[in-house]
């Protein structure tokens, strides 16, 4: 029973990280209707900046720099690439982000090489024991940080003028523009926020018990795609629920790997995708996604 509780808590913690990534993904989709396939690379960029700087300027400034760096990369992608496409066709823009992803991922994996970079976090491999349950401190920190950021984000989304502009643009771009909302700034902001959230997620994807930032980290980040999709691409609630669902599934599947041996090794990495396919079979627009009204 206590191992189950451990798996569950670890899963929720992992899921909250996926939720952070998926949230950024959803924010970009809502503000610009573009599916950002370069999201995993944004995350890798943030993690890389933190990893490189933490020796010289200490962990917390390095983390801030990583967040700023990833936000900058996101904003640069929006400003230099997405904004230049005048066609306004969103499926073509999704393909552009694949091109951007190839560029960013190649550069970052070349820099990282075969190294495993530490991010210099203060928690190390310390654990907290409550009764029979043992949890790594990093998992608790991840859960708290994610909860804090997500709450802050949702509040900002609801009450600040930035959030109102963002929601108005998501509702109907043309009308929002006529109301004096600057769509360029909205999408720039969305990309920057998504980058920043991804950079925080990068930290918690690479701390204990994972060895550190490496090439494969972007594969872990990819699991936010099924999280965002199964929740519904245009729903922030969906991103949270999807993230948690994916995290818990993965943690349980990995934890009970021994009992699932007939499915082969590494079933935990596959589980999120299987859950996604199962959900999409029943609800093609995700759990909380709005079903597009059919207009002719």
């Amino acid at each position: 029973m206590s191992t189950f509780a451990e798996f569950l808590i670890n899963g929720v913690s992992l899921g909250s990280i996926y939720a952070l990534i998926a949230l950024g993904f959803v924010v970009i989709f809502r503000a610009t209707e573009v599916v950002n396939f370069a999201h995993a690379s944004l995350l890798l960029a943030g993690g890389y900046v933190t990893a490189v700087l933490h020796d010289d300027i200490g962990f917390w400034p390095a983390l801030l720099a990583g967040v700023a760096g990833a936000a900058l990369v996101g904003a640069a992608v929006e400003f230099l690439v997405m904004r230049r496409h005048r066609g306004g066709d969103h499926s073509v823009l999704a393909i552009v982000t694949i091109g951007v992803d190839i560029l960013l991922a190649t550069e970052l994996t070349r820099r990282i090489g075969t190294d495993i970079l530490a991010l210099g976090d203060p928690w190390g491999d310390a654990v907290v024991t409550v009764g029979p349950v043992t949890i790594a401190e990093t998992r608790i920190a991840a859960l708290l940080a994610a909860a804090l950021l997500i709450t802050a984000f949702l509040l900002a989304f609801r009450y600040t003028s930035w959030g109102v502009a963002m929601r108005a643009a998501a509702e109907r771009q043309e009308t929002a523009a006529l109301m004096g909302i600057r769509l360029g700034r909205v999408s720039l902001g969305a990309w920057a926020v998504a980058g920043g959230l991804a950079a925080v997620a990068a930290l918690f994807l690479t701390v204990f018990p994972t060895p550190g930032l490496e090439r494969a980290t972007s594969l872990a980040a990819l699991k936010a795609f099924p999280a965002a999709i199964l929740g519904g691409l245009d729903s922030t609630t969906g991103a949270l629920v999807g993230g948690l669902l994916v995290g818990v599934t993965e943690s349980l599947a990995t934890g009970y790997q021994g009992d699932l041996a007939f499915l082969g090794r590494g079933i935990g990495d596959l589980a999120p995708y299987l859950v996604m396919v199962a959900v999409l079979l029943i609800r093609p627009a995700g759990l909380f996604g709005t079903k597009e009204p059919a207009r002719v």
Binding site: S91, V92, A94, I102, T106, R110, A228, M276, L280, L281
Partner: protein, 365 residues
């Protein structure tokens, strides 16, 4: 007016016929002059072109974003090994004749596409793209874990193909004093397959199904209202595209002579998407041009890495040729979409068409 038009057409047809004949002749005599490296590179390009034709039918012509193309390539490649293998290497094999194994492998890839079509038929746009991403991970999981079938991490050897008594392996065969090994013989097989694939795809795209596919891409509901069975067409295109991928997989396996699971990862799927975007979405010539560009680029850079600035041999600290190639085609994807909608084929077209006809639209709206 009509006179000039007709005479122009009369002149144009023979020129085009001459050009095709000349190109065909050049391709046919290349194995007598080129060394193994170039022939192998050419074969990779042919296999890539077959796969790109498939994904262009699906993503380019019908507007169904697929990131799972590598999965179907893997089904073709491993399917061929499993059907043709004789079980002497301890891996499952039915020991069928090579040609039958190849046909069955292509059918198997089509079947895999058909099995996935209940999901593919319900999803659109980005949802479909990410759902097909699941195929990649499922595929990788099976390839690494089903040891008896795939040989796991180390992959499995590909049994050579035998067709009409001719075995496509390195057994020496002298043709006009030129020793013909595996690549020389496969070259002609590849050419024949590619020609067939191109003609078939052209037929599909120019005929009734092609119009229906473009209508579905441009406006799904309007297409349905006009009486096009949307779901059936989408499922059929998915199956056809998977079969093209399966064929490409078989050819790739025959050229590689060994299939390894690592190759069939997400990067490969992205490569195929890059090919059709660079070449031109929804166009047969575009698929071939993009495939040649993307698959020859790393080979060229590897070959000439000494002579090129910035590029150096792998492991020497500089930018490795493979990475340089990825930079180039990543940038090419972005540049093509931003500055050359319609891809490389648009460059070749003498009279620019309206950009509307080759761009997919509507699906994500």
């Amino acid at each position: 007016m009509s006179e000039t038009l007709r005479s122009a057409r009369l002149r144009a047809v023979p020129t085009r016929a001459y050009a095709w004949t000349a190109a065909g002749l050049v391709l046919a005599v290349l194995p007598f002059y080129l060394d193994r490296f170039w022939l192998q590179a050419g074969l990779f390009a042919m296999a890539a072109a077959l796969g790109a034709l498939g994904i262009n039918l699906l993503t380019g012509a019908t507007g169904q974003l697929s990131m799972g193309h590598a999965f179907f390539l893997a089904v073709g490649a491993y399917g061929y090994c499993a059907f043709a293998g004789d079980g002497t290497d301890g891996l499952a094999g039915l020991g069928l004749p090579g040609w039958l194994a190849a046909v069955l492998a292509v059918a198997l890839a089509g079947l895999a596409g058909g099995v996935f079509s209940p999901i593919a038929g319900r999803l659109r746009g980005a949802y479909l793209g990410i759902a097909t991403l699941a195929l990649i991970f499922i595929g990788q999981h099976v390839l690494f874990n089903a040891h008896d079938l795939t040989g796991g991490y180390n992959g499995r050897a590909v049994p050579p193909l035998t067709l009409f008594g001719l075995t496509f392996d390195d057994s020496e065969l002298l043709v006009a004093q030129v020793p013909f090994g595996a690549v020389e013989k496969l070259w002609y097989l590849g050419l024949a397959l590619l020609l067939g694939g191109v003609l078939f795809a052209r037929g599909v795209l120019r005929g009734r199904p092609g119009r229906a596919m473009n209508a579905i891409r441009d406006h799904r509901i309007a297409a349905g209202v006009m009486g096009i069975p949307v779901a059936r067409h989408r499922a059929a295109v998915f199956v056809l595209s998977s079969m093209y991928a399966g064929l490409a997989g078989v050819l790739l396996a025959l050229v590689f002579q060994r299939t390894v699971p690592e190759y069939f990862g997400m990067a490969l799927s992205l490569e195929y998407l890059a090919m059709i975007v660079i070449g031109g979405l929804g166009s047969v010539a575009g698929a071939v041009a993009g495939a040649v560009f993307v698959s020859l680029l790393p080979q060229l850079l590897t070959r000439y890495s000494d002579a090129l600035p910035l590029v150096s041999a792998p492991g020497t600290g500089g930018i490795a040729p493979g990475e340089a190639a990825r930079y180039l085609y990543g940038a090419a994807v972005v540049a093509v979409v931003l500055f050359l909608p319609g891809g490389l084929v648009r460059l070749a077209a003498r009279t620019p068409e309206t950009p509307k006809s080759t761009e997919p639209s509507g699906e994500a709206r």
